[in-house]
Amino acid sequence: MLKQLNKKTLFLSSITFLIIWQIASWIYPPVIVPSPYLVIKNMVMYLGNPEFYADLSITLMRGLIGYVISVVLGILIAFSINHTSLLKNILYPYLLTLQIIPRISWILIAMIWFPLNSQIVIFIISITIMPTIAINTLEGLENIDPSLLEMAKVYKIKGPQIIRNIYLPSIAPYIFSGMKIALGITWKTVVMAELLTVQTGIGARMSYAKTSFSTDHILALTVYIIIIGLFFQGVLSKVKAHFERWKI
């Protein structure tokens, strides 16, 4: 989070945004720019729809499973290749390359490799964000102050203590910043993958809305994704703050 967002400025800019949106919706037909009122109405309507809850929870589940898998995997991969410079030299370029491969390529390949169900979505999320986590963790590991490790060696500090007192506090900022970037990517990716590959979830719902040109529905669903994204960023900030207190 940036240091301090000014609440008043934020409020004023939101109001201005809504006013501009409203004016635009008067100028253009609803298919192009639906009014904010229509979008909010749709959002409220979704709340009364049990099928929406099913889609929402399946999207959440896919996103979170994919996210957790890739965070754990990314950290493990970073730790295990950090040990030997040979492994690092071989695998690091691949991690960088993985980061560049367009998500859409993965989606197309995954559609050939996997049956069209949750697996495919989770795979796409993992393959997209795991490299980010691994690269950030590696960077953290590389930035551990070797003079502190020497100090630990001389004073015969035990392995678990070294991990807890030197490794974790050193790499945590890098991992958290990777996790934050990855979390943003997760929700974008999950919706995109659902839209293109499966029949369930918020993404699939958007796909239906698109075929019937229901721009108001697309925007209502988008706002839900934004809310989900902000909520989990908040959770992550809490976890981070908790960790910082704990390490102190």
Binding site: S147, L148, K153, V154, Y155, K158, Q161, N165
Partner: protein, 276 residues
């Protein structure tokens, strides 16, 4: 722990540049050995080799494995995310009775005059305070070999004298073997049982002095210490070429050792007035 530690025929080079070549150093047990020499001559390298952090290219060190080492590095090397107390606690964990750690930590923080800063993090302390905290860590650790690398550098004079006195007290109480590296000759003469002057390229021992005045009786400015200080100063100033190649060094040595009469002068100038 009776056998002296000895560095024998040590070679060490960095990037093809010989820092130490056939270097020998004897470190008597339970004594304070001071090493003085110009900056860059390899003093820190010697301590790093003794502590096992750096490996010599050649040569061996006797009886070093019997030692439990604490090391006051040239830089504080504190954990930035732990407060003063926890920085000390960390090295004591599993090394002494858990119940005693807190009082031990308090004692040493008090000794280096940091008891009001227990809960401060390193970035809230001044450079000198961080140095003292690192010193407290080295003192508190139950070692029998204590390595100190220019530990009082940058402290103001009164504080420096307090720290010298503290080191003496520690030695008197616990009889640790201490290797004390400094570029300050006066500091070395106030603390060391033996003072070793290094110089030359690659680094050799220019001379070793046994200081036979009991550490607690040493005062700045007493004639004998002043003479030794002048001698060491000359040695190091002219020592950059090493002993063998420099006739000047031999002259300096001869002049110092020929005037034997000074050797017998005790440190008490009032009872034994200067005769020059």
């Amino acid at each position: 722990m009776k056998n002296d530690i000895e560095m024998l025929h040590i070679d060490k080079s960095y990037n093809g540049f010989n820092i130490l070549e056939d270097f020998n150093l004897k470190i008597p047990r339970n004594k304070i050995t001071c090493i003085v020499g110009p900056s860059g001559c390899g003093k820190s390298t010697i301590l790093n080799i003794l502590s096992g952090l750096t490996h010599q290219d050649k040569g061996e060190i006797t009886y070093i494995e019997e030692s439990l080492i604490s090391y006051a590095f040239q830089e504080p090397r504190l954990l930035p995310w732990r407060n003063a107390k926890d920085n000390l606690r960390l090295v004591l964990k599993n090394k002494m009775n858990e119940a005693l750690i807190d009082s031990h930590v308090d004692y040493w923080l008090d000794s280096v005059e940091l008891s009001d800063y227990k809960d401060y993090f390193p970035n809230q302390l001044s450079g000198g305070m961080m140095q003292r905290l690192a010193l407290a860590r080295a003192f508190a650790f139950p070692s029998n070999l204590l390595l100190m690398d220019e530990p009082f550098k940058g402290l103001d004079a009164p504080l420096r004298h307090k720290m010298i006195a503290l080191t003496r007290k520690l030695w008197q109480q616990e009889n640790k073997t201490i290797v004390f590296v400094t570029h300050d000759i006066q500091e070395a003469l106030l603390l060391g049982h033996r003072v070793i002057a290094l110089g030359g390229k690659p680094t050799t021992t220019l001379d070793e002095l046994e200081i036979d005045i009991p550490v607690e009786d040493r005062k700045i400015g007493c004639v004998k210490l002043a003479r030794q200080q002048g001698y060491l100063y000359d040695l190091i100033e002219h020592g950059s070429l090493g002993v063998k190649n420099c006739p000047r060094i031999q002259q300096i040595k001869n002049r110092f050792y020929d005037q034997k009469s000074f050797e017998t002068l005790p440190c008490d100038d009032e009872k034994h007035p200067r005769k020059l």
